[in-house]
């Protein structure tokens, strides 16, 4: 029944009906390492040059943004690819008018899959400045909901001392199609001790370990890491063997069949890395992607269901991190990357997912606690929180429910596994050394967990 309904909606006449029902055909999002096609405009509200410096570092030509000063906003001569607003130094409420004036013409002229990127100070002092800081978030979220045709807006809080090299990977990620399904979000970037230049294949000669790599989002994470130059170690349960082998061979990595809940899982990952790539080899990035769901309403959740989810999604990575961080051969390198997968369910809660939400919220707590602890070793710790992503798992949700999930975000569609993978790729980039302790939602600005 669900399938029939789905077929009806996506058939020619069905699409017409769907349109009448208020279900517009979703925009095809710009994806990959592709910059906006239209011109990029930049403006600074208080004289900070960080935005324009970073664009210059990236080699992106930017013109001055148009500013609205009347009833009719000025029109950009061509569809605008992106607007970067450097709003650092904003401390007074009236200064927000500058943001409005820059945004109004840009939103009007924004090309499909265009970008608005707002830079703001992370640390402010004074009551009004705090109000301004938070106001920016409200504006960002609203603009995200008003932008159409796959255009997105995101807000980056910048810590003191952050330079263009620290910010470059973030700005590049946001401008490019890699951030297609990241919308209405805000996170923080800080200064880093050592940062690499932004490159096309930033992970060349680096080892990336991905758990749960055999299929779905994990396979896509491994694929993107390999595309970005990494040697991937694909980890999945022994039962996933055939798909794991096929993917690994395609990516030219090595496969490790491993139950991550085994007590020695971290040791075995390190041993595999040391044995395949030499005792001097270290893991550049560990992506804790493996996860399971055992959904039931809390009243129906027994201890086994509870334990299984918490064990796989949270406890296992805690244990693996201990082994990988103890300096053993094949462990995580200094200046390395730890990435976990949280979930909008963990942020907002979700009916029938108490165990899952616990584990995923736990991931958020873990990231926040571990990041400062490992900052001294140059290791960053981050998480993505996917919203509705089109996978085998979400394909099992009944159609109507799925259609609701899929549509209730600012982009009017579900994300693809590659959107999660690209966001992780951004964390993995050696140039992202200044991004740590962050949880970035890849949800198309889903209503849930806002």
């Amino acid at each position: 029944m669900a399938t029939m309904l789905e077929q009806l909606f996506y058939s020619g006449p069905g699409q017409a009906v769907a349109g009448k029902l208020g279900l517009p055909e979703p925009e095809t999002l710009r994806r990959g390492r592709v910059n906006p096609s239209g011109p990029v405009a930049v403006t600074s509200l208080t004289g900070s040059s960080l935005g324009s410096d970073t664009l210059a570092l990236l080699g992106v030509a930017a013109s001055a943004a148009l500013v609205d000063d009347g009833d009719e906003p000025p029109a950009y001569p061509a569809r605008l690819g992106a607007l970067v607003v450097d709003a650092r130094g904003l401390t007074l409420l009236p200064q927000l008018e500058g943001l409005r004036a820059a945004l109004r013409p840009a939103v009007k002229s924004m090309e499909p899959s265009g970008r608005i990127i707002v830079l703001a100070d992370d640390e402010v002092s004074g009551l009004e400045a705090h109000a301004v800081r938070q106001a920016l978030d409200g504006i960002n979220r609203t603009v995200g909901k008003e932008l159409r045709r796959g255009a997105t807006t995101n807000l980056i809080y910048v810590r003191p001392g952050t330079g263009a090299t620290d910010l470059a990977s973030t700005l590049s990620f946001l401008l490019q199609g890699r951030s297609a399904f990241v919308d209405g979000q805000s996170w923080t970037v800080g200064p880093a001790a050592a940062t690499s230049a932004v490159r096309e294949r930033p992970l060349t000669d680096r080892i990336v370990v991905v758990t749960g790599a055999a299929r779905g989002i994990g396979a896509q994470i491994a694929t993107v890491a390999a595309r970005d130059g990494a040697t991937v170690v694909c980890v999945d349960v022994p039962a996933g063997g055939e798909a794991l082998a096929a993917l690994t061979n395609q990516l030219g990595g090595t496969a490790l069949q491993l139950d991550i809940t085994a007590a020695d899982a971290g040791e075995r990952i390190a041993a595999q890395v040391a044995s395949r790539y030499g005792d001097d080899a270290r893991i550049h990035a560990m992506v804790h992607n493996a996860g399971i769901t055992r959904d039931k309403l809390l009243v129906n959740t027994d201890a086994a269901r509870w334990a299984a989810v918490v064990e796989v999604n949270l406890a296992a990575q805690l244990r693996m991190n201990v082994a990988l961080l103890d300096g053993r051969p094949g462990g995580l390198a200094d200046d390395g990357r730890l990435v976990s997968i949280a979930s909008t369910s963990g942020i907002a809660g979700n009916r029938g997912q108490a165990n899952y939400a616990a584990s995923k919220a736990g991931v958020v707590g873990l990231v926040r606690a571990l990041a400062p602890e490992l900052a001294g070793r140059g290791i960053t710790v981050n998480a993505v929180a996917p919203g509705f992503i089109e996978t085998e798992m979400t394909a099992k949700i009944p159609f109507v429910q799925r259609e609701v999930f899929r549509r209730t975000n600012s982009l009017g569609q579900g994300g693809n596994p590659i959107d999660v993978a690209e966001t992780i790729g951004y964390f993995l980039d050696p140039a992202s050394a200044g991004v740590t302790g962050q949880v970035v939602r890849v949800c198309g600005q889903n209503l849930v967990g806002a």
Binding site: E242, A245, Q257, R276
Partner: protein, 425 residues
Amino acid sequence: MNAPRSAVIVGGNRTPFVKAGGAYAEASNLDLLTAALDGLAARFGLAGRQLDEVAGGAVLKHSADFNLTREAVLGSALAPTTPAVDLQQACGTGLETVIYLHNKISLGQAEVGIGAGVDSASDAPIVVTNRLRRAILAANRAKTVPTRLAALSAIRPAHLMPVAPQVVEPRTGLSMGEHQAATTKRWGITRQAQDELALASHQHLAAAWASGFFDDLVTGYLGVTRDGLLRADTSREKLAALKPVFGGVDGTMTAGNSTALTDGAATVLLAEEGWASANGLPRLARIVDAQVAAVDHTAGDDLLLAPAHAVARLLARQGMSLGDFEFYELHEAFASTVLATMAAWESAAYCRESLGLPDALGSIDRDRLNVNGSSLAAGHPFAATGGRIVASLAKQLHAHGSGARGLVSICAAGGQGVVAILEAV
């Protein structure tokens, strides 16, 4: 002078083994072997790599699969410029491919290669009758239409019946089970002893699976993730309740203490020791030496006792004794094969008369025998058994510690035996 070269086992990969006609019923030898090679390539990062050679084989082989291993390489993730050879020595095939590569590597003719074996009893070649084959060949030879028609007119409906492969020894007309039944009787191997061995095989294999021993030795295939013949819950009572299938009504050999027809494929990655370390590959165990032997079952010798002879010669050459091993892998074609082989080594009379030794070769510690299970529990896809054993033993030896030695013994159809010594690096 060049440093002595030695071949090491880097690791292995196999499909889970399943009963013939089961989950792999639709899979051919080629499919199974390709899957096993792909799993190995993934485990060791060999995708796109050109290896020096892949040696593989199958016992039940279609004539169309004359280049089975090469075709599997072409279908796999390995570089298509990797050459391959088909070898066949009945159930000794898998071990023989490993020995072949060991020899090439030791001689400097290769640095890295794969020994492999596959068998699908589900995909056994069904052939046409001799009469039909000859009529068709005659028709193909015919130069004129009338002679061709005349040749084809020799075909009778009965000639069109397909012929299933013979599972008997061609020169004796006896199946392997019938031969082994005679051996079982001759050596006085009891039903109870056979069932005990079968039970141990299942228990050991089940424990190995439970402990994750096979996590880096097996890659799932067609949704199967564990050996299908394994009965973790079998018991003395269940085994004792089975009816004899060989040796008549008084026979002691049952479906429980004999191997079943099995589908599966197994591979072993070998490399020159220095090359393996330079290329960041594990070095689990060296192949110390190997030996083949044959008995004359067409004159009444015990068909499956050739390994007893091969081991005697191998130990003599190496100046070792039967007790010098941490682990023993005696292929369980039948429980009674293992028991009769051990009985032969313990028999001073047999060792003197048949092996030419001054006294009994000795006995082996049963606690070191087939510690991760063997063919009774895992199944026995003929040519794949050698690869299964070598990879598992190499891992076991490596875990035990440097210098640990293991003995592999595999009996084969035609009264042959292939044996080898491995030593942990």
